[in-house]
């Protein structure tokens, strides 16, 4: 069983998207791209009458890390999954591995990029940029109570063993 830390257990916060609130205005995308070299790392998927912002889930199982041939993705002590831009060669193996389609190749900067949970801001005690800017209060960074319902509800977790306790 994997005993990797989750940012939910370390920071005691969870990225929650209130789908009743998301209006698909893409303010999060605009703000995120401003903070990240002009490339947004959150994706607002719009369907006919709904919008869903997708972030990196900073998963337990991290298929991206498993697929990377250069060990260029790492999980920090805080449980945040980060791309090491010095080691990354831009082979896009992680892009193929991610079930949520979150990683992207930035050809200009020659690395793969993905949501970094606004690490610098979070470490300074602030919320990630998308949460701060969301006009409709749809993107939330709220206290995690460790109930594991996310694991049960996760559409990709059909064959999942017991989670590490925290």
């Amino acid at each position: 069983m994997l005993a990797t830390a989750s940012y939910r257990s370390v920071l005691k916060k969870v990225f929650f998207v209130d789908l009743d609130r998301c209006i698909g205005c893409k303010s999060c995308q605009a703000a995120c791209s401003r903070e990240h070299f002009g490339k947004p790392l959150v994706f607002v998927q719009t369907m006919e009458e709904h919008a869903v912002p997708l972030h990196c889930q900073h998963c337990e199982t991290t298929p991206c890390i498993k697929a990377c041939p250069k060990e260029a993705i790492e999980k920090t002590d805080q449980g945040i999954v980060l791309v090491n831009e010095i080691k990354c060669i831009g082979c896009s193996a992680c892009v193929t591995a991610c079930p949520f389609g979150i990683l992207q190749l930035d050809e200009q900067r020659k690395v793969v990029v993905k949501c970094d949970l606004c690490k610098n801001k979070v470490e300074a005690g602030e919320f990630p940029t998308c949460v701060r800017t969301c006009p409709a209060e749809a993107a939330k960074f709220i206290p995690c109570i460790g109930c594991n319902i996310c694991a049960v509800a996760c559409p990709f977790a059909k064959r999942f063993g017991p989670l590490p306790k925290w």
């Binding site: 789908l19 997708l54 082979c91 193996a93 193929t96 979150i102």
Partner: protein, 179 residues
């Protein structure tokens, strides 16, 4: 490194030096030991993923990707190559090496050399390329060693990242009973 004009000058010097010792009837010229900036890429098609990391990292934009539906070709605009070795260092499969040979004819004729060709896996939903087949197979293999759901192996890997995002969004909406 060297630009085209400088290279040509250096080359003219080299040619005149060499022609004094070797008759210049050959296409491939061995590159003298301490001389930088000249070489010929060799791709091992057994190992190569056709992932294009080499193309992404190439500082001279000499490597190009040509994709036509089912196949991806990695090609080299030879006259731009300065044999810097970025492609060698960045290759995840160690499938590229630089031979210390200079292809004079390809250089002078500005040839685009075909390096490697591979099939690509296309998204079942939109037809966009997901990844070249050799890379796709290995990534899928690696990921299956994790405790991940069957859904990844049987469904998700057949979709490109854009369609995966749409699917994730749809699944999220369904789980939260919005749809």
């Amino acid at each position: 490194m060297y630009d085209e004009k400088m290279k040509l000058e250096i080359f003219q010097n080299l040619l005149s030096q060499l022609s004094q010792k070797i008759p210049l009837s050959r296409r491939f010229i061995p590159v003298p030991e301490k001389l930088e900036g000249f070489g010929l890429l060799e791709f091992d098609s057994e190992k190569c993923w056709a992932c294009s990391a080499c193309k992404v990292q190439c500082p001279e934009e000499a490597l190009k990707i040509l994709e036509t539906g089912k196949k991806r070709t990695i090609a080299l605009e030879y006259w731009k190559c300065v044999a810097c070795g970025e492609c060698v260092d960045s290759c995840p499969k160690e499938a590229v090496r630089i031979k210390r040979i200079f292809d004079l004819e390809a250089f002078l004729k500005r040839e685009v050399l075909k390096c490697v060709e591979a099939e690509v896996k296309s998204c079942v939903r939109c037809g966009k390329t997901i990844a070249p087949v050799p890379q796709h197979i290995e990534v899928k293999q690696n990921v299956s060693e994790l405790v991940v759901p069957q859904t990844y192996l049987s469904d998700i890997s057949d979709y490109c990242e854009e369609c995966r995002r749409q699917l994730s969004a749809l699944t999220l909406l369904k789980t939260r009973r919005k749809l």
